[in-house]
């Protein structure tokens, strides 16, 4: 599908349309999910940026409901994969099964797995074996799966939301850093407040669940992705995103004291890409056609927290990477 860039009048129209669709998506999801505005915004941002999301939260805070509601609002195919230690890669990507011809004889027919959806919820991804994890991660990276000698393309938009339970670490297989880096954002789903708990209970213990309407569909999501990538970014602002990424490396001249002390490896260039793309989407949500420093700063935490690898001292001192990112935000020069 080819897209022609609109004139300046069309640019204004595109911005308004993007903003309106984004707002409708988040509002519609909010009818079923109480609170978690940051998580919802981050998830939709990742979807529009073409990335994937790693959700971290204790059980029962609404991670699955969030993803399911998002899929319903976006009129996209939804699939949920519960990762267990005995889950095999074929359980994710699909497999060839033997079929019989009507006139006799057998043949192999590929049965696609749950990965062939638009929105895939990979629940407790850290419970599956690395082999199974890699099957999912390959699909995330290439937007395709290989079964035997055949490669099957996945339908766009394709969004994977993987979840991790921070409590149960025994018997789990933590994702390696190289694979963590493939997630666009890492969002923390926090425990709801008391007021939010009231709303959750009221909504979920009634005789009928709230119904969400479908706001946008797949092609509109792809159009929104294109619009997001059209937003221009000035070189000084882009330089700030790059400085933030470089500052997470202990050997960098921009490194802060905490980075030098607790970080073994810093964020990859994917972090800079995530910052810029998220900044563009944030600019559109403000109704602007330019990216500002504040847009970049708003995406720093979800884009960097899972890409910073702590050293032994950091692990021993139980340093939170959010603290390191906060120091980067305070220390890295904006000019």
């Amino acid at each position: 599908m080819t897209h022609t860039l609109p004139g300046t009048q069309d640019v204004a129209r595109s911005i308004d349309q993007f903003r309106e669709r984004f707002t409708r998506i988040t509002q519609e999801v909010g009818r079923r999910i109480v609170g978690h505005e940051e998580v919802v915004n981050g998830t939709v941002t990742s979807l529009l940026a073409g990335g994937h999301v790693l959700l971290e939260g204790i059980p029962g805070v609404g991670k699955t409901s969030l993803v399911r509601s998002l899929a319903d609002v976006l009129h996209l195919k939804f699939a949920r994969i519960q990762f267990t230690p005995d889950l095999m890669p074929a359980d994710i990507v699909g497999t060839n099964i033997v079929q019989e011809h009507s006139h006799g004889g057998t043949f192999f027919e590929f049965q696609p797995g749950p990965i062939f959806a638009n929105v895939v919820l990979a629940d407790e991804i850290n419970r599956a074996t690395p082999k199974t994890q890699s099957a999912l991660l390959e699909a995330m990276q290439d937007v395709s799966v290989s079964v035997g000698t055949t490669t099957y393309r996945l339908e766009q938009p394709f969004l994977v939301l993987a979840t991790q339970n921070p409590i149960e670490m025994e018997g789990t297989y933590p994702l390696p850093e190289a694979q963590l880096d493939r997630f666009f954002f890492k969002l923390k789903v926090k425990y709801p407040s008391e007021e939010a708990m009231h709303q959750i209970v009221e909504r979920t213990t009634r005789d009928a669940d709230p119904v969400v309407t479908r706001v946008v569909d797949g092609p509109e999501i792809l159009e929104m992705r294109q619009v997001a990538r059209s937003v221009p970014i000035a070189r000084p602002v882009q330089a700030y995103a790059i400085r933030m990424t470089l500052a997470s490396h202990p050997a960098s001249p921009y490194a802060t004291p905490l980075v030098k002390r607790y970080v073994r490896y810093g964020a990859s260039p994917r972090a800079a890409q995530a910052l810029v793309l998220a900044g563009k989407i944030s600019a559109l949500n403000r109704g602007q056609a330019f990216v500002s420093i504040d847009d970049i700063r708003g995406a720093a935490l979800p884009a960097l927290r899972h890409r910073i690898l702590l050293n032994f001292e950091g692990e021993a001192d139980e340093v939170n990477t959010d603290t390191i990112v906060d120091e980067l935000l305070a220390s890295v020069a904006t000019e």
């Binding site: 860039l5 300046t8 221009p232 403000r286 602007q288 330019f290 500002s292």
Partner: protein, 467 residues
């Protein structure tokens, strides 16, 4: 990606508008900052000029020195102001600062960057169009108002006026005598550290002012202590006198005091010696004005030293120098001695400051001194061991019963003391005495001798008038 014709026409305007708006805002910001710096520095420059003017006046430098300081300061500030207002490319940091100050959320900073580049995209054009419209609605002079700096302006103005006043109005060459008072002065009391005056720098009014001072000392009439202007003028004169060390200047002063010119070297030496003597006497009579006394004594020493040197050069014996009888002594003249037929000259001075009215009587005679008679009385200068000398203490003791309560107005007013009416007298007398040495040795100063018995009656009756 192609742009429509409308975009081609719109693009240059919005790009240029943004560039001009950002450059204009930056220029206004720099002008405001420069103005603040200028008005912080202006009082310092004016103060430096004032200090330079004061120092120049004190040291006797030309008025061009403080003028140069002021001109340099003004030139430096003006140059700084002009450079600050020059148009130049706006850096990203400057654009970010302006953006932050205006609360534009990064739009100005981003648009400023894009305005210098042709990205060729509709989105950049749209961005610049909106930025141009938004920047055009901002009044940058309100965002960066130039402060009035009222206090700095007032202080600068006062300092400049003060500096100009010191340069022009109160220059050292402007001194003169007004109504008998001396002209405004230099630093009060700073007579000892005044620079040496050269011949060509001898103030024209100095001889006249010195004459006034000597007369005041001789007659005992001094301006009231409360007269601040007179005090200031006096300090100026004392400073000038203290600076008189150049022999040529001293000679010129002596000639001017003698109201004569073209004198020979010997005559000049005589004039200088006579002036030294007179100055010494005036110093002795100024016991209640220490600064005047010190200045006159110092001047007397310098004059005597120079006179002695001059006389040595001319082959004369400085010890034979005598004071002349002419009007270089000032307004001293012969006074009638009363019934006494002796040609006694009297000079009577009063100490108006103390109010005790101790009158110091000096008598001298033109007759040749005899062994028993002590005709000459030199106050504070002559030795009692030499003929013609006198002892102050003896004279004071002898005349202690002659204490007279004097009043300022001596024109015939009677002062009654102890039932006896006395009349103060002001006599103009010509005093002559033999001079012993060129330099005055204060250690040998002593009181005048007692009045001889033969003359005591005359002295007593002189002051007593029958009603």
């Amino acid at each position: 990606m192609s742009r429509t014709d409308s975009l081609h026409r719109a693009m240059p305007d919005s790009y240029t508008l943004v560039r001009d708006a950002v450059a204009g805002a930056d220029r206004i910001r720099r002008a405001r900052d420069a103005s603040r710096r200028l008005w912080r520095a202006a009082p310092a420059v004016a103060g430096a000029a004032l200090i330079a003017a004061a120092v120049s006046r004190w040291r006797g430098w030309s008025a061009l020195v403080p003028l140069a300081v002021l001109a340099l300061g003004v030139a430096a500030l003006s140059a700084h102001g002009l450079v600050s207002r020059r148009r130049h490319d706006v850096s990203d940091a400057a654009a970010a600062g302006i953006d932050s100050a205006a609360g534009l959320g990064g739009e100005l900073r981003s648009a400023s960057w894009f305005s210098g580049r042709d990205t060729g995209t509709d989105w950049a054009d749209f961005h610049l169009q909106r930025a141009a419209a938004r920047l055009g609605a901002i009044d940058w002079t309100q965002l960066y108002p130039v402060g009035r700096a009222r206090f700095s302006r007032i202080v600068t103005g006062l300092l400049v006026v003060g500096a100009v006043a010191l340069m022009v109005v109160a220059s050292p060459g402007g001194s003169g005598v007004r109504g008998g008072a001396l002209t405004p002065a230099a630093t009060p009391g700073n007579t000892s550290s005044a620079p040496v005056l050269r011949t060509d720098m001898l103030p024209l009014a100095l001889p006249k002012d010195l004459e006034e001072l000597l007369r005041e000392a001789e007659t005992g009439v001094a301006p009231p202590a409360a007269d601040a202007a007179a005090a200031v003028q006096l300090q100026q004169l004392l400073a000038q006198l203290a600076a008189l060390q150049d022999p040529k200047a001293l000679k010129a002063l002596a000639e001017a005091m003698a109201l004569s010119s073209g004198l020979s070297a010997a005559q000049i030496a005589q004039k200088m010696q006579a002036l030294a003597d007179r100055t010494k006497r005036a110093a002795d009579l100024s016991m209640n004005r220490p600064e005047v006394r010190a200045a006159l004594e110092e001047l007397s020493q310098e004059l005597a030293k120079t006179a002695a040197a001059e006389q040595s050069k001319n082959g004369e014996d400085p010890s034979d120098a005598t004071a002349s009888k002419d009007s270089s002594q000032g307004e001293s003249g012969k006074a009638e001695a009363g019934k006494d037929s002796e040609d006694a000259s009297l000079q009577f001075t009063k100490d108006a400051g103390t109010g005790s009215g101790i009158g110091v009587l000096m008598t001298s005679s033109d007759a040749a001194p005899s062994g028993d008679v002590l005709p000459g009385v030199g106050l504070g200068g002559a030795s009692g061991d030499r003929p013609g000398g006198g002892k102050m203490a003896q004279l004071e003791q002898a005349l202690r019963h002659e204490t007279v309560d004097a009043s300022v107005d001596t024109a015939g007013e009677n002062v009654v003391t102890a039932g006896t009416r006395r009349k103060t007298e002001h006599g103009n007398a010509a005093v002559t005495f033999t001079r012993g040495a060129g330099t005055v040795e204060r250690g040998r100063a002593s009181a005048a001798p007692a009045v001889p018995e033969a003359r005591r009656t005359g002295v007593q009756t002189y002051f007593v008038r029958k009603q």
